[in-house]
Amino acid sequence: MKKLWLILFGLGLLSFTVFKGFKLAYPSYFPKPLYDFKKNPLAQQKIDLGRVLFYDPILSKDNSISCASCHSPYNAFAHVDHDLSHGIGDQVGSRNAPALINLAWQSEFMWDGAINHLDMQALAPISHPKEMGEDIANVITKLRQIPMYRELFFDAFADSTITGAQTLKALSQFQLTFISANAKYDSVMRKKSVFTDQEANGYRLFKQHCNSCHAEPLFSTYEFADNGLKIDSTLNDLGRVVVSHNPLDSLKFKVPTLRNVAYSFPYMHHGRFSKLSQVVTHYTNLTFCNQKDKRLQKPIVLTENEKVDLVAFLLTLSDKSFVFNPSYSYPKEILARWRRD
């Protein structure tokens, strides 16, 4: 009996070493992540698989659009220069593709929170007729025909069957590594650097007028709020109410993070503004009578210099090591292993 235990124990150790564990690094001033890593423990092979899937147009109906087509790493995973997203057959969607940053700290996804878990998010673009126009069952059938994927799934899950759940979990794993915590703001927090006078003044104004919704250190409370944008009559997007059925949620959208905001233009759920200065002017032009949210009921009065200072502070949220992180880019080194010339 003792021997059996020893053998079992030994085999257990072996099977664990097969998966290279992966520990998410984040600063001590971040809260605890909300994603339940126990249900999907990070492993390098799964992250690699997720990365290959994220860049593979095989997830779309006509094999033309990948996740990265709309979420480019060089734009903090937002859609470069598109107010509304662009999918298969050149179809235009109805919302702006948000930046994908610090997703492990969110529990509701999309501008209206229609998706309740990061794992399930990918189903939405895959099946959206104007995004990828596919069906997860068909994606799995396509993946199963490709020897490279059979091997990648085997490496990741010790099983080469390829299932929907595995595909979604691998995509989550790659996206969970999108942690941005290396901007100038962060080095100031770590006392490795100091703000210029202009940035420091912008920071003060930010804390006074913006931090109640775009709260540090994630730069969002991830609540749904109405920031006073007028409805776009060509889209008639009512936001959160469609999901919650609560009339008070009409025209509320998820507060987006402002990390890397300099890279993720255009702004707002329908990409109305292309410059940060326009966003700041939106807030200073708000008339208090049409504003539902308490936090924006007092007019925000800023001088031209203060507006510039506020934008200067927002630029300290740009994290170059995030947008140029080689482990987020097109997985050429992984794919090279399968290329046969």
Partner: protein, 233 residues
């Protein structure tokens, strides 16, 4: 590769344990019916209230949270038991429940659908794998009950009717729980009167219910009432 011997060891170990304990089994069978006869997919039936024919092309639903009760007290709950029953795969409609020991019970209770905690728990495999087509992509949530087919009275594309019933968030929670009297020595057979469920809907005006809504909730109550242990025409 290295995982396989471990798996074999664990399996051998489990069988050994299983041999010692007095395991027991209970069988639940589900029989979808139309006009008191077992349903045949693709067959044209006459539906009295529309005075016309209809054909059921697909019928699938989840059963979960199975509990055994004795004198109204839970004696055992099947752990992680989520079952997808599919009329196209008749074997999926018989559930063999393995019990760790023989229990005395006089009632069995289960959900038609998937509970709200499972609904927010991320990607899961097996019966819960979204590739089974029982998960809404555009707004998270499982479809508890899916009934599809055609009827000439439906004013929809290709005369299709589609009822995808689900929703786990208030105010539109469509999960239903049913309880049946039974005994531990006799298998339970549950009949589902699809003619009564479809007869409750105006197929002309409402060929589709495909999102969490008040209509989905009211249909889910009718569905629940038509899970019975005796069937009458």
């Amino acid at each position: 590769m290295t995982k396989q011997p471990l798996l074999v060891c664990i399996l051998v170990f489990c069988f050994a344990i299983a041999g010692f304990a007095q395991a027991s089994r209970f069988t639940m069978s589900f029989v979808p019916c139309f006009n008191a006869q077992p349903l045949q997919l693709g067959q044209a039936y006459l539906l009295a209230n529309i005075n016309d024919s209809l054909t059921v092309e697909g019928f699938r639903f989840y059963v979960s949270g199975i509990k055994l009760l004795n004198s109204n007290k839970v004696v055992y709950e099947i752990p992680d038991g989520h079952y997808l029953l599919d009329a196209a795969h008749p074997q999926s409609q018989t559930l063999q429940l393995n019990l760790p020991k023989p229990f005395i019970f006089d009632q069995i209770q289960f959900h038609i659908g998937i509970d709200s905690i499972t609904n927010v728990s991320g990607a899961m495999g097996g019966a819960l794998d979204p590739m089974n087509g029982m998960y809404w992509a555009w707004q998270s949530g499982f479809i508890n009950f899916k009934l599809e087919g055609t009827s000439p009275v439906c004013n929809s594309r290709n005369h299709k009717f589609q009822y995808h019933i689900g929703g786990y968030m208030p105010p539109f929670k469509a999960l239903q729980t049913v309880t049946f009297s039974c005994t531990n020595d006799q298998d339970l057979i549950v009949y589902i009167a699809l003619d009564k469920i479809l007869g409750s809907i105006d197929l002309r005006l409402e060929p589709e219910i495909m999102s969490p809504s008040a209509k989905a909730i009211s249909l889910s109550t009718i569905i629940k009432q038509n899970f019975t242990n005796n069937i009458q025409p």
